[in-house]
């Protein structure tokens, strides 16, 4: 595996915008604590699939279950903490 990339909130926001092709959205428009799905950023289940793939590739992480996924994908902040806590 390539050397781990730091999963800073800024890096994750950039990844979200790039990998989900969010028209009219800039990384700095996403708040660290705002919910990613439903209210907040308004992502849907198709976005979740694509985001999982993008995060796996970028940071080499695996989301092992739906329960963990639900928790980890709450916000940019929870994602960042989860990825930084890996190894």
């Amino acid at each position: 595996m390539s050397e781990a990339v730091a999963a800073t909130p800024d890096r994750i926001k950039r990844l979200i915008v790039e990998s989900l092709n969010l028209e009219g959205m800039r990384p700095d428009m996403i708040e660290d604590e705002a919910p990613l799905f439903g209210e907040g950023l308004g992502l849907d289940s198709v976005d979740a699939l694509e985001l999982v793939v993008a995060l796996e590739k970028e940071f080499g992480i695996k989301i092992k279950s739906q329960e963990i996924g639900r928790e980890v994908f709450s916000s940019v902040s929870t994602l960042s903490q989860f990825i930084e806590g890996r190894t």
Partner: protein, 419 residues
């Protein structure tokens, strides 16, 4: 005896009115720009940018411009929708608004009957282009790739909870869907049918028709001497159908009556029509019989008229079989000369064009670049100016598809006398 149960006639027959129409095509978003462009005889066929077509033989299409920005805001899940879905939603919203029905339609006993040839094919092509080049792709491009995407999107958006069906039978799809909707309203299966078709430009059909050498290098010239193929178009068209009685009872105004539908198959060839025109004539005859009309009751024909040498010749033979001596005189309207061939949507867009002609008492022209008539096909095509026909009572629209699938729809003008 139990057998008597099986001898019951089916559900009753009701007169079916058109209470709303909506359309988007190369002439613009809405039936207003559609009629304005049709009446002016202004072809929307020209250079287009949807995809790179440099490697193909021909370089023309009637491409639809950007959607009205307020549409994207009004439709939840907009970014998941294919271009064909978006066309369908626009046309359905316009038609339902004109019909004066409120959304959601869940309380209305409504159904959606839709036609499409390629659905989200364009988006699938973009996915595979990226995937084959970079071994990666956005799954979301495939979210609405099915051929039933446009009809399903319409049902979801309008909250339709009755039957939702998509017909995909190449270029007859849009007309067949309307035939199915007519049946559903007539029999009482639904009280409101939102019916039509949608297709967007895509590389599959663009390459396919070009490979068949069925595409003209200039805008198509139906029934003209130099015709050399079809032109591509895209868009959607939707009709709202209701029982006439119900519509009148709620104070609505019928735009026309969908009086009959007929269908047939050539059983002849994968792409070419039966040159005898027998199959197309059978669909026309079936539609007239369904409407309870003789050929004399039809005042004009909205032809399939693709502009391919074979299609127009076969269609002429069919018209001869149905209209006999009148076949050279009955006015023909060739909508594809202006908006191109909308494939799975063409039957529904031409249904809207036919209704608009009946409503305005004018047949729109198809100038075909001033091209001379084909002496082999001595038809009366409306070419230069709109033809005033304020007394026109009824018209038939034909759709003749790959696979030999033929469909015809009869529309009659609604007047108080009709009721």
């Amino acid at each position: 005896m139990d057998s008597e149960l099986f001898l019951q006639p089916g559900r009753g027959t009701r007169v079916v009115a058109v209470s709303g129409v909506g359309a988007v095509c190369g002439l613009g978003w809405g039936t207003a720009p559609l009629w304005e462009g049709l009446r002016a005889g202004r072809p929307a066929i020209g250079p287009f940018e949807r995809f790179d077509h440099r490697s193909h033989r021909t370089h023309l299409a009637a491409e639809v411009g950007d959607p009205p920005p307020e549409l994207a805001r009004a439709v939840p899940g907009w970014r998941r929708l294919s271009i064909a879905d978006r066309f369908a939603l626009f046309a359905a919203r316009e038609a339902v608004e004109q019909a004066g029905l409120s959304v959601p339609l869940g309380e209305e006993d409504a159904g959606v009957f839709f036609g499409s040839s390629t659905g989200g094919m364009f988006e699938s092509e973009r996915f595979f282009e990226e995937f084959l080049r970079e071994r990666k792709g956005r799954l979301s491009a495939l979210a609405s790739q099915q051929v039933n995407g446009p009809g399903d999107a319409v049902a979801r958006h309008l909250g339709v909870t009755g039957p939702v069906e998509t017909v995909s039978s190449a270029c007859a799809s849009g007309a067949l869907a309307l035939g199915r909707a007519l049946e559903a309203v007539r029999t009482g299966e639904v009280e409101v049918a939102v019916a039509g078709g949608s297709d967007s430009l895509c590389e599959l059909t663009y390459a396919g028709f070009n490979a068949l050498r069925s595409v003209d290098e200039v805008p198509c010239r139906p029934f003209r001497a130099g015709r050399a193929g079809m032109s591509f178009g895209e868009g959607a068209a939707v009709l709202v159908l209701e029982p006439l009685e119900r519509l009148l009872a709620r104070g609505g105004e019928p735009l026309a009556v969908l009086a009959g539908a007929g269908a047939s198959c050539d059983a002849h060839h994968m792409t070419a029509p039966d040159p005898s025109g027998k199959g197309a004539a059978a669909a026309l005859a079936a539609a007239l019989a369904d409407a309870g009309l003789t050929p004399e009751g039809i005042d004009f024909v909205n032809v399939h008229g693709t502009g391919t040498p074979l299609n127009d010749a076969a269609e002429w033979r069919a018209l001869q079989q149905v209209f006999g001596e009148r076949s050279a005189e009955i006015p023909l309207v060739a909508t594809k000369a202006l908006v191109g061939h909308l494939l799975g949507c063409s039957g529904s867009l031409e249904a809207v064009a036919t209704i608009l002609c009946l409503r305005h008492g004018e047949l729109h022209p198809a100038p075909c670049g001033g091209e001379a008539a084909d002496p082999e096909l001595p038809v009366t095509l409306v070419t230069r100016e709109p033809l005033a026909m304020p007394e026109a009572r009824a018209a038939v629209s034909t759709s003749l598809a790959f696979g030999g699938s033929n469909a015809a729809l009869v529309f009659s003008r609604w007047t108080d006398r009709t009721a």
